[in-house]
Symmetry: C2
Subunit: 414 residues, 2 copies
């Protein structure tokens, strides 16, 4: 199959591209390299050193003979996207190309607007380009489990049957997202559902949990094929941050009481889930939703897991409870359905001591690259800022986070 | 109270501004006059002649002594918005300032993107400016009944109690909007709900039905205070279009079989509903939703009403069924709750023969201004276009609708 990977330079996009190339598909990466610019702006950086995209693509070819095309450009530029879609004729389009950090979207108004504009308009462009150039192609869109929030009833996969005043219907599952980033994915979901119904195109929306791990059969071939490992307060996910904190002898930073429960999955399961979705596309006009995670943990559960593994490695790991920078429930009911991908054949890799041990090894090997100042939360949901020449205090505009983080970065690398 | 009316130059914003000014409130209009530009682009025009905003504001002062401030500017420009909000210090902000035509949003990709960007970013800016400059102010946001679509169960006011697998929660009512415009309102609703919860600001989301009528106590004072009357295929609502068709001796254009059922209300009830919402604001942090309509009709019911009134006026009114340019159910269950505004004291003006008769009189008086070519649907949901230099046929880009409509306009006015 011809498979277009939007955002193929990123944490998941790159391993996904290699994985599908290895299965014999023709893979083309599209990426605007925005994340690299955002990293510079935030003073953050992958723990693992990352080769530039053309070098990785060349290395992949040297090592395996596999050809991955790579095009640098922005899907917000419709003429660019139209050219790629009409030339490459994808059978499937995997869309990783969104701003995907909740804290980044909550820095201030500009970052909120940037996140929603980038994500919503990018997906609108993909929908129009699919309709125009490859109406039979299958759009595989990365959503997030965070679209659902934490309702007091079981979370279903995209839709729920509701009986109300004696009548019944199957309706989109109600959404209660918790950041402007998560909101952008809810907006996408509604737009995609409408486009499928109206134009007869087909899409799978993968409401993904939090992914952990960096090692796949393909990244393991050579250090130069490594994918990024984010651990900081803006881009890092909770388990990665804990591992880094443990490795450098700092307390684990649990936000609030730590009862926040979320779905998680191994990076290898992400790759397989997307392959499964591609191999069994929806019918024309169908919009389907899979919940893409394998296990659920509270963030305090994960802290205790990391403490236990740390003990094996003679690390003295303590746990700190910080005031939660987010607005979210610290204790809540959580039960989310996730059977549709299992039905398609997914065999999950569960989070084991062995796996966590191997992640810790990666982290310990790279620990001199940690930028400590970026570990603590930089962004508070309640005080998200509005840099403006009309700020209430009459004082000059608040410095955007970029400035502060760059200063922290400089201090750290001095 | 200090009341800011965003979009105060428009069909509802203008009468609302006069109405609230008359009640003794301090009213400030903000408008970017975008609709006037879009009219030029589409070759459409109000049936009723409309004075320019500064002339109307001056006339209002001459006639009543009431002072309405008017500021021309775009809320997408945050510095402009910040200046207005900090200077005027509103107690309530009524947000009419969105692109509000479903067909316009479905013209092509550019109009879809423009609609969603304008509406979503405008509302995001208002939320941030409210948080920053007047966190106690009440944001009264115009939503639409079209956010709900046509589910097979009763439509509630914003939220629904769901019992599922033995557990219970009150959750946002599932949304199934039917155009990129309606989708933009759903996106707004999600963003506003989040901002209220996260920042403690307060908002009322008014999911309004289709408004008819142009005569209010204030517009009736002088022809120069008239508000616009849209009847064309892009901006006109169904009842207005029928009245114009009847007045010029053309068949009424029913889309499809005509079983599409929607909520409707008299323009005077809109003014009163918004006043009621302002007088009884939600508590800090509360996001509440009212369904703002008074009666429901199918579009075929309305055609028959217009036929009956036409007969009184010796007009021979026939009914044509056009292929539905939209993707929607032509027969469906529809029962939508709308009790919250009645509980606050609304006394509805129902659609009566007398009222319809008075609308017909306005239309007949202005019928030489009708641009006939704009009556038929110009935009098809299924074939929404993608002007692009890479269009599939290899032929030059499709002409945007603006060009065609301008040509039609020229032909009509020759």
């Amino acid at each position: 199959m011809n498979i277009l990977i939007i955002g193929g330079d990123g944490y998941l996009g790159w391993p996904q591209s290699m994985y599908l190339s290895k299965q014999g598909h023709r893979v083309c990466i599209v990426d605007n390299l925005a994340r690299r610019a955002w990293d510079l702006g935030c003073g953050t950086s992958s723990l693992t050193p990352i080769w530039m995209l053309p070098e990785r693509v060349a290395l992949w070819k040297d090592l395996t003979g596999g050809v991955i095309e790579a095009v640098v450009g922005d899907i917000l530029d419709y003429d660019f996207l139209a050219e790629v879609m009409s030339r490459f004729s994808p059978d499937a389009i995997v869309h990783f190309g969104e701003q995907r950090s909740a804290p980044y979207s909550m820095i201030d108004r500009e970052h909120a607007v940037q996140t929603q504009t980038n994500n919503v308009v990018g997906t609108l462009n993909l929908l129009y380009a699919t309709k125009e150039f490859c109406p039979d192609a299958h759009l595989v869109k990365l959503g997030t489990m965070g679209e659902y929030g934490t309702p007091n009833i079981d979370i279903e996969e995209g839709f729920i049957e509701i009986t109300h005043n004696g009548r019944k219907d199957v309706l989109p599952y109600p959404k209660q997202p918790g950041s402007f980033y998560h909101l952008s994915k809810v907006h996408d979901s509604h737009n995609i559902m409408f486009a499928c119904k109206t134009w007869g195109i087909r899409s799978t929306d993968l409401n993904q949990g939090i992914v952990y791990g960096v090692k796949t059969a393909e990244t393991a071939l050579h250090d130069g094929l490594a994918t990024r490992f984010d651990y900081d307060g803006v881009w890092g996910t909770v388990l990665n941050r804990y591992c880094v904190e443990a490795a450098i002898g700092r307390p684990l930073t649990v936000y609030g009481e730590g009862g926040q429960t979320r779905g998680f999955l191994d990076i290898r399961d992400t790759l397989r889930c997307i392959e499964l979705a591609i191999l069994k596309p929806p019918r024309a006009g169908e919009y389907r939703v899979f919940n893409q995670f394998t296990e659920q943990f509270s963030i305090l559960d994960l802290a205790h897991l990391v403490q236990r593994i740390g003990a094996h490695k003679d690390l003295d790991v303590t746990v700190d409870h910080l005031p939660d920078p987010r607005v979210e429930q610290e204790h809540h009911y959580y039960l989310a359905r996730h059977t549709k991908l299992l039905d398609l054949g997914l065999v999950p890799h569960n989070l084991s001591d062995v796996l966590l041990d191997s992640i810790m090894d990666v982290v310990i090997r790279c620990r001199e690259r940690v930028i400590e100042e970026t570990l603590l939360p930089q962004v508070n949901w309640r005080s998200t800022r509005n840099p403006s020449s009309y700020s209430k205090s009459g004082s000059p505009s608040a410095e955007p986070i970029e400035m502060e983080l760059q200063a922290a970065h400089k201090a750290a690398t001095r």
